[in-house]
């Protein structure tokens, strides 16, 4: 195992603005695991691997290169929880490493900011950081209480399937399993949460989210766990929107770091779980009662 003492935490857009509990829990958990997460000063939107990359590819790769270069300035690897940010940063990393002409052009632009993209450090997903760098054994040693009897549905998100060799889906499932909960595998695990449809057709997006949520309800899922803040946004807001239309959805959604922090013995208030818009407390109550709700 490679010992990583410090790592840059690329927060992306949603975590430091709308999902503070994800950022806070991540920092708490990593400190417990002996890893110091560093903020990247001046980091911007990744930018997103869909619209920005489609509409302005050169600006997209320059901004992504700048974000990586800012982390490189601190001489550390960088990790992110967001599947979209991960896709953008790894894509840009490979493009800038393989295309000399593009690399020169991007670096000419970055010189204006006094930074250079070198490609010396790795871009990791939080799954890779936890599973490959820190390791399951080290995580298991920190677990003080488990989510016994809690039925957890995993929202993997689209983009972590892009590189099947990295096996991020399997690794994420194992990371959830060690929390002692009951992982509910569903056929709908593979479908999109609806985020990309929000750009054009909100009704279509909500219908997609509903398809996913209905399968969770059908299989008595207690809560949803994920890393991707975009999926978080859609699955939580989707429930609130559906409830406004007469639905009765109440499946709390958690960033994986939150559940890990709870299992490490931290109280939900420590990482700001009270900012959730759905009833999250019932999950921890169920865990404390050994699965009886």
């Amino acid at each position: 195992m490679v010992e990583t003492k410090k790592i840059a935490f690329y927060l992306g857009c949603a975590l430091p603005s709308a999902q503070l509990f994800g950022e806070a829990a991540g920092k708490i958990v990593l400190k417990d695991l002996g890893v110091e997460p560093l903020d990247i000063e001046g980091a911007t939107c990744c930018p997103d691997p869909e619209i920005s990359r489609t509409v302005a590819p050169e600006l997209w790769v320059t901004m992504a290169g700048r974000n990586i270069a800012l982390a490189e300035k601190m001489d550390v690897d960088v990790f992110t929880v967001c599947n979209g940010c991960y896709d953008t940063l790894t894509h840009a990393y490979h493009m800038l490493s393989e295309d000399e002409q593009l690399n020169r052009k991007v670096n000419e632009n970055l010189m204006k900011f006094g930074i250079q993209y070198q490609g010396k450090h790795r871009v990791l997903h939080a799954i890779e950081l936890l599973y490959d760098v820190i390791g399951l054994d080290r995580i298991k040693k920190q677990i003080k209480r488990k989510l016994t009897g809690v039925r957890v549905g995993i929202q993997y998100g689209c983009r972590i399937r892009l590189n099947p060799k990295k096996e991020l889906v399997r690794k994420f499932r194992e990371l959830v399993e060690i929390l002692g909960c009951e992982v509910v595998d569903l056929e709908s695990d593979r479908i999109c949460c609806g985020v990309p449809m929000m750009y054009k057709d909100q009704k279509k997006a909500l219908a997609q989210t509903k398809t996913r949520l209905d399968d969770m309800v059908k299989h008595n899922v207690d809560c949803i766990v994920l890393f991707c803040p975009a999926c978080y946004d859609r699955l939580e807001k989707g429930q609130l929107e559906l409830n406004q239309q007469g639905g009765d959805y109440d499946i709390p959604v958690f960033n994986y770091f939150e559940l890990l922090a709870y299992c490490f013995g931290h109280e939900p208030d420590e990482f700001g779980a009270y900012l959730h818009k759905l009833d999250y407390e019932k999950i921890f109550e169920k865990a404390q009662s050994g699965g009886k709700s």
Partner: protein
Amino acid sequence: MADTDDQKVLFYDPELCSGCSYCMLACSYEHFKVLDYELSNLWIYPDPQRPFYYIGIHCSHCDDPICKAACPVEAISKGEDGIVNIDQNKCIGCRSCNIMCPISVPWKNLERRVSFKCDFCKGDPKCAKFCPTGAISVKTRKEARELASKLILKAEAKSK
């Protein structure tokens, strides 16, 4: 013309598709500079027979394209690279190609009054480039045929 086995085609893998439909938006942006499902040259639909699966409909750039044969004004051609294109300057919007294609790939743009279809984005299809799961990819026709056969066998085994 490119050897038919070596011709580059799109390959859609329903096992990987999450139904996000971003391919359709990327396609519309490439061709019309707007993000609009109505202006896409390929379509992703929920599979009515398999819950949580999708069907991708896209041009196969057939060896002997029936859309080309059906066009009364020879607006459709098959290039040296095997790509089947519609020349919108020649198209009269009669919809013969739309009707004759077995999967109705060519579609009529009612605003412009002519038909459109996949033009393979000059060899770099944006649907494949932006697919977040790798469900749409560029393969040779031979590779695509082999992969499709495997998928069919897998689906048949599953249904037994």
